[in-house]
Symmetry: C2
Subunit: 284 residues, 2 copies
Amino acid sequence: MEVIATIRALDERLSEAGRVAFVPTMGNLHEGHLALVRLARAHGDTVVVSIFVNPLQFGPNEDYHKYPRTLAEDCAKLESVGCDVVFAPTVTEMYPTPQQTEILPPPVADELCGAFRPGHFRGVATVVAKLFNIVQPSVAVFGKKDYQQLFIVRSMVRELNFPIQILAGETVRADDGLALSSRNAYLSGAQRAEAPRLYRSLGAVAAAIAQGERDYPALEASARRELESHGWRVDYVSVRDAATLALPQGNPPQLVVLGAAWLGETRLIDNVEVTPSGTPSVAV
Amino acid sequence: MEVIATIRALDERLSEAGRVAFVPTMGNLHEGHLALVRLARAHGDTVVVSIFVNPLQFGPNEDYHKYPRTLAEDCAKLESVGCDVVFAPTVTEMYPTPQQTEILPPPVADELCGAFRPGHFRGVATVVAKLFNIVQPSVAVFGKKDYQQLFIVRSMVRELNFPIQILAGETVRADDGLALSSRNAYLSGAQRAEAPRLYRSLGAVAAAIAQGERDYPALEASARRELESHGWRVDYVSVRDAATLALPQGNPPQLVVLGAAWLGETRLIDNVEVTPSGTPSVAV
């Protein structure tokens, strides 16, 4: 496995790399990332993982500076799952001049997490477009844990005609249900014990929908109250059409329940996909 | 030469095309376009020319619907200069769904022509990014006649890391100096006789700068008055730093004098590059 820091060196390494499968990350890798790398391994001749904490997607009061950077440990993990190339550029390599050309993502980028993190998905889409052009993969893998990000990347690839297939990796969870996330490292012991409630609350909404409940605002409010009563500060709990991330109109075949909430200074997100039952249990 | 209308068919045609040199156009081709194609011919194994009148770059009151569409004549001309593939997609092929992901170009896109055509360069940058991803060229050729467009495309390629070399083609002019443009076809006989004044006026500004004049606002105002006194409606005449398109700060090594003005219902643009003399003729 090679660790490469410059675009020029990466170009040389990939000049005869065959079909490249790519996993962009911000490092501090956990089993969730490694599952994405295994998926990439099954879809390419050469697996490239990027590790880059992208300043463009952090707000001025967010955790860019304290975001954990653990390159040596990350590389050891990546080697164990068959990664061929780690691309770990500096900020200057990625942004040698102020980034004035950006990707403007679809309007849904201003909802859900985007409503609480203005400009976040513009920064994500921009760095992903740059990485796509640098790595030129045939396949790229993103996790469902960042469901809205996956949706925006898929929209960008389709609407800007990137010749890249996007694969989605399932969310990997701890035994108690908590979705693995680099930000879990910020949690105290007590917060870590409380953290799985986010997944349980979203799951309860999904279960009710699966059983025919259609009053989504009531379900959302109930989940929010449950979290707030246990000390969470809730950004949102929202039931969306999984195909469009819009509010459900009519009877979409697949929904997703998304949530973002804070435990102390740590913001956690999660989501649960659900297929609504055919027969609503309440008349609306 | 093949004429191809779908992305899928183009992919097949280009699967073993070697080094592709690409010229994006809106059709209604003249000698200016053909010079770009000859330049492309010298830089690629396969020359692809796209012909697509892009609705995204026209304002609601602009000439999208009346823009001349002359595919058969265009193809005959392209074959004569060694084009291999004409890509002429429908609007539906390029925009099967509403375009919600766009390229946000640098702030200078809101100045000069962008100040008079809001969103124009966003539409240009977006369709160029799409075409780059569809055609995947090694080289792409743009004309200096659309100087601001060339600047914005170069910025996009550099800042989004497109693996594409951009070549600039010199402006081709009629014997009387008028820059060739599809929109010249809109001019009446009298307007056509008047039209070269735009180039002469910009050239007079450039000549004064070459001789040491540094009072750019005075030169711009003089060119504007000259045009207005001959019936033009002037959008702008502006002296800019050729490297940044910003207003000149200090003594940039290369300037460009850009102008846009209307004769009746027809908007013409042109520009003249100039190297300022070392010794200003006026103290400022």
